[in-house]
Symmetry: C2
Amino acid sequence: MSPHPLEEILHPRSIAVVGASDSGRGGAFVSALVGQEYRGKIYPVNPGHSEIMGFKAYARVKDIPDPVDYVISSVPASQVLSMLDDCVEKGVRAVHLFTARFSETGRKEAAELEQEILRRAGEGGIRLIGPNCLGIYYPDEGISFHEGFPRESGSAGLASQSGQAVGEIVQMAAQRGLRFSKAISYGNAIDFNECDYLEYFAQDPQTRIIMMYVEGVRDGRRFFETLRRATAAKPVIIVKGGRGESGTRATASHTASLAGSMEVWETLVNQAGAVSAGNLEELVDLAAGFYFLSPIAGRRVAVAGGSGGSSVLAADECEEAGLDVVPLPVEIREELKSKGDPIWDWIGNPADMSIRVNRDFDTGDMLVMMAGNQNFDLLIAFIRGPHRRGNERISAETVIERHRLSELNNKPLLAVMVDIIPGASDDDDYAWMRELMEEVRDKLVAASVPVYPSIGRAARAASKLIDYYQRRESD
Amino acid sequence: MSPHPLEEILHPRSIAVVGASDSGRGGAFVSALVGQEYRGKIYPVNPGHSEIMGFKAYARVKDIPDPVDYVISSVPASQVLSMLDDCVEKGVRAVHLFTARFSETGRKEAAELEQEILRRAGEGGIRLIGPNCLGIYYPDEGISFHEGFPRESGSAGLASQSGQAVGEIVQMAAQRGLRFSKAISYGNAIDFNECDYLEYFAQDPQTRIIMMYVEGVRDGRRFFETLRRATAAKPVIIVKGGRGESGTRATASHTASLAGSMEVWETLVNQAGAVSAGNLEELVDLAAGFYFLSPIAGRRVAVAGGSGGSSVLAADECEEAGLDVVPLPVEIREELKSKGDPIWDWIGNPADMSIRVNRDFDTGDMLVMMAGNQNFDLLIAFIRGPHRRGNERISAETVIERHRLSELNNKPLLAVMVDIIPGASDDDDYAWMRELMEEVRDKLVAASVPVYPSIGRAARAASKLIDYYQRRESD
């Protein structure tokens, strides 16, 4: 089998950044490549400069003495055609057009120019990414458009019509321990389009789960067929931008996409076996679940570690999300009784840990007991924030501080950490709390536990994961 | 009119903390009073100590030589009756029972003891707060149960059956600039109950908005009548804990509450003119809106400052929340055109600010134009995070950096700040970003702008506020 056409352009020996300068977006592409430790050659191109960010600069692409495989264009739209001619002459294989102001402006001449660019590139044997997009983040190749993205790679793949969304998703996901095989911002998608990217990730062995942000699809039949094949191979989670009237208007001016009917979309996405998310936060919530958890066998959830009102609301929000908050099994109560626990008959599910006097028995112990019980299919743990006890600063208790996760018997575990720091933000007394919370979060992430900022988000993500696995089982 | 019975006990000249020690919850009450700069006298009571945290300690309440107005009890349940006898002898007016393990245990003898305590206190002329609660936070009197609560007071009142919820609410609200008149955790509520607290806040001139977390009400008729009277005076926002089967089980073991039917509850809360919230985050989202914003006249929202996908999803989420994302009025386009703006015909609502080349015209300028237009009833601004431009560190742009809020023409403004920091958490390169973001957040809070962590939460809060004002208008 020949490699996917995208695979052929993803390993450039050299990248030219046309329209680079020491500041502005063109220069930011150069510094992102440097920051990401791109091992190939970098050639800034700008007729007004002899050197840019320490690299020798060239006036035109064809002036570069060595081969150029890949070009990032940040010149104005009016200069793209002549730049493309240079690229053809130079034997460039792919051009990423950061350049915008094409069909998305709604102007006839801009849309015509876009079509002419596609035609000219096709004739010259050049594949296009974009226009109007941020392009490729591929950590293993050291390619990035953003300095702050992790250098480490992982197994999440992302294709997004919006570059801003890639930035937001990669960074939100990174805070929760997910890393990416590749993340691609593809904008107006005049050459490679959403189907190509989806197809690529479906066959990419480095990618275990696929995330997408889509505003519109050009060829609905091909897209849903590709989607069906992709979901047969790995989970696909999709956010649709442009669901309502005003959002549809916004997609037109953003990436010139025709959004189409939302009802038809939802039906087809479901039929294809993909998972829908309503916004980028939910996309990351779901991706974190698929990334870290083994398949969840059923809906019976055990919740531990909350206290008072948070336990009560945890029960409500889990139930409203479609989880089954079963009562604490009698075996667990009997075991607590046999250990001399004074509140054995009172503790329930959710297990409110604030009512425990005995500090030797903590959330981790409770979770181990719950994990060992066949009445539960998954576990949700509240990780309480750090606090002061007298003069002592107590770290948040964590499951992993006192237990090995292997004791959880392979039961899927989701952690909830509510980000609350006491005191006003000008109160330096509490900076240590933020530090301790971040330390605990890092420990959980390192232990491959997906962390959620609220019980509602954890419960809704878990429920959609269960829907997904149950649907697959019934297929 | 005689003062409300609660008012009579809220200004104690002295507080005794029975069961205090240098560590543990009893001691934490003492250090919270110290931290909050309580001006009255503090008397720790513990037969095993002569001094606690620098205060002379007494063996029993009746040993204290001076008058004692208010007692916080953290002795075990079995010692409460004898402590109460001492309090009666000493002329104490109110006892806050942090002490728990009563009816919430589901045990008959514990429930009977609770009733005996109520009887004995009534005979002795002592009013009770609790049992099984954290009691009172009253910043102007320097009373608190939590060291980290702000010392500054404000105009939000909170009554909550759960003490944990008070902690979470006060701290989440504090991060967003809300301050409290009083916040009361009332637990099992055997004497003063939810109706008394609601009635108190309704008549309290220091309280402009009332927040409640309720698990169950004893007397439905009185509660809803009180609620109706309260909502006539000021906005009341309520979270109900124990909405489903498992939540109802949890309320029983938390505060011995009977949760009742959720449908009946929702109907009665709506009929009374109160606002329902599904969880504590939404409670704070709504409270922030009522706290800072003038009434919103209609649903037509102007959104500015997002970019790319976030603008598209903003349109979708606003519309799904019930807001009306009207197209950008022609007058604004004409004004942009007359100013020579090259994309005057392309910019829309949401106004995607990433498509602007001209950096002299920012989100603030756009908002000022939108605020001046009669087609909009409210404004939502995305405040973009700080970023690097070349070697320069750019602060988040804010409305208030370049504009006075008065230029917004009194249009209600909600700000959205998504908390994303690039890079992994171990990357010190980006610590400056968090600092800058916190600085910007502080500026917004200081300018009385409610800040939301996502567009969805801002839109849903705004929509419920509009529902509230429209319902009042039609009454």
